[in-house]
């Protein structure tokens, strides 16, 4: 590592900020909350600025290049989103402000709820959850609350396909429910016969099923209507993992396909910042039968627009909420960005997003097919999964391909996921990448495949051009040191 830690450049007495004089009466902290043994770094402002600037130069971001993380939809964050979120009327709001002074902000929340309901085909939406996994937790708790409310508290089984995101079984366990895994069939769809067997076996205990469509193989679940019908027949509910909504925008609505509840990832599908640039936002949408259980508060319109009146908005808690899942109302700044995105694109633009995302993924898949094995060879949706292994280079693994991509200036795709594909590489280019960028990425993948045959050590030792070389993931996992400690 070429940049020392702040703790390592710390020198006693240096300071980057000077606090203003105290202008309120001093109050002592309660005894027991005061500590003097906390080693905080002491650095000057110039050292601090240089430290973070250097780190940012070593970083990789969507603003630098293609970031093809399958199921993560690392799409461009339009700058107008940022402009809108920085408007003083939004940026300087206080959550305790009187409702009469925040009608504009409530209008944004209300409109975004309406947009998301329409896009997903749902009756209502809550914008509270802070990110996708929390949206999932909210959704699954709503399913559980629904069964309990109907006098069916014994229902405790959730069906999860073997291609599911890891958060699905994790959410199920967090909600106190049991996971039953459903295998995929030879085409990458949910195996209907196994699903039926599981539904019959667990019929009276069935909470429902969690399904991602398109699934993590980037394939459309062709039997989605049979699946939702089957689960409903046994009294279960359908949970939609909205991680891959980018493929469906303006084309298919999960609510119409039989999903009862779904979380959206505004930081994926709706172009708000992702990862370290977040925060995320994972609104949850519900069919009419589940709307009462949404986490609150949500925004309601209590006076409709008329000739005499302007519309009026207020915060309400749904009748049987699972509770509050986030302090105050959720990540409001992210709502503004997502609202802006939807308004800028309009209905037709939304559909074009999905079309281009699917086109780009298929273009890339065709470009590498024949060199990288494609385990389920179908037209893909917004992403595809290939295998990072080659018959004539048997010791090269997906991880080596990923690391070598760093040398070519690209962020690697996820590897070893989904679990049902050997040496998986899961590639999602997103809709905003140009043909030239896609060609450069495909060329890099093809060049790496050639290197794997001729000089595989280039792959084993990669990355060569990054601030740090190959990290020892095994040592890091076996001997976890999670924070810096003074010597």
């Amino acid at each position: 590592m070429t940049q020392p830690l702040l703790f390592e450049i710390s020198r006693p007495g240096r300071c980057a900020v000077r606090l203003p004089d105290l202008d309120v009466p001093p109050t002592d902290l309660p005894a027991g909350l005061v500590r003097s043994d906390l080693p905080l770094p002491e650095v000057s402002e110039s050292d601090l600025v240089r430290h973070y600037t250097r780190l940012s130069q070593m970083n990789y971001a969507v603003d630098i290049g293609l970031y093809p993380l399958g199921s993560c939809t690392m799409k461009h964050n339009p700058r107008i989103n940022e402009e809108m979120a920085r408007l003083p009327g939004f940026a300087y709001l206080h959550p305790y402000q009187d409702e009469e002074t925040t009608q504009g902000a409530l209008f944004v929340g209300y409109s975004l709820q309406q947009f998301l309901s329409e896009i997903g085909g749902f009756a209502a939406v809550s914008l509270q959850p802070a990110a996708g996994a929390q949206g999932e937790l909210a959704g699954v708790l709503m399913m559980r609350a629904y069964h309990i409310d109907r006098g069916d508290p014994q229902r405790d089984v959730m069906l999860v396909p073997d291609s599911a995101h890891g958060t699905n079984p994790a959410t199920t366990s967090m909600s106190g429910l049991r996971v039953i895994e459903i295998p995929s069939d030879g085409r990458g769809n949910v195996d209907l016969a196994s699903l039926e067997t599981a539904c019959v076996e667990h019929s009276s205990r069935l909470v429902g099923m969690m399904l991602t469509n398109p699934n993590t193989l980037g394939l459309f679940e062709q039997n989605v209507e049979e699946i939702t019908a089957l689960v409903h027949e046994h009294g279960g509910l359908m949970y939609g993992d909205g991680a891959n909504m980018n493929a469906l925008l303006g084309i298919a609505r999960p609510g119409d396909l039989g999903f009862d509840v779904l979380h959206y990832n505004l930081h994926k599908t709706f172009s708000t910042p992702h990862g370290g640039g977040g925060p995320g936002c994972g609104p949850v949408g519900a069919a009419a039968s589940l709307a009462d259980f949404l986490p609150g508060p949500v925004v309601a319109m209590d006076v409709e627009q008329s000739e005499e009146d302007a519309p009026h908005f207020t915060l309400v808690v749904p009748p049987k909420p699972i509770g509050r899942v986030k302090a105050f109302y959720g990540h409001f700044g992210i709502w503004v960005r997502a609202y802006t995105y939807v308004r800028m694109l309009g209905a037709e633009g939304m559909r074009r997003v999905a079309e281009h995302a699917v086109l780009n993924a298929n273009y890339l898949m065709s470009a590498v097919k024949g060199v990288y094995p494609i385990p389920y060879d179908r037209t893909c949706m917004h992403e595809f999964v290939c295998e990072g292994r080659f018959e004539d280079a048997p010791d090269v693994r997906a991880l080596d391909v990923s690391k070598r991509l760093i040398d070519y200036g690209f962020h690697p795709p996820p590897n070893y996921f989904p679990l049902i594909v050997r040496e998986a590489l899961m590639i999602e280019p997103t809709e905003t990448e140009s043909k030239e960028t896609l060609d450069r990425f495909a060329d890099a993948l093809l060049a790496i495949a050639e290197e794997a045959r001729v000089s595989p050590e280039l792959l084993y030792d990669a990355p060569h051009n990054a601030p740090v070389r190959r990290l020892d993931e095994v040592a890091a996992a076996r001997n976890m040191i999670l924070r810096w400690q003074p010597e």
């Binding site: 385990p375 679990l419 050997r422 095994v474 996992a477 076996r478």
Partner: protein
Amino acid sequence: MDLIPDARYTESHEWVRWDGDDLVCGITDHAQESLSDVVYVELPDVGDELETGDIWGVVESVKAASDLHMPMGGQITGVNEALEDEPEIVNKDPYGAGWMMRFRPSDPSQYDMLLEGDVYEEFAAQEEG
């Protein structure tokens, strides 16, 4: 893939062999190779009573985390505590020092229903594609 002659196997890649009235259980050589470097093994509590197919532990590598399933119902009688500090033993010696747990089966005759070595080998090769 390495197999041992006096063991039976499962489609979820566990092996079992008799040791007195107990069965000793671990993951196959094929399983450890597919997982690559094992970094963590979660073991059951001695005394746990489990049914066929129940999850008794988790094996984690840098690639994936996999549940471990009971080949037959029974009661856990011992676990390999050495794996807590040195999970890499599973990679080095999956059928020997890398054993994971032992249990007293409730119906010992079920052992005969498990896969014999050559059947497992064929299954694993097929799964490999």
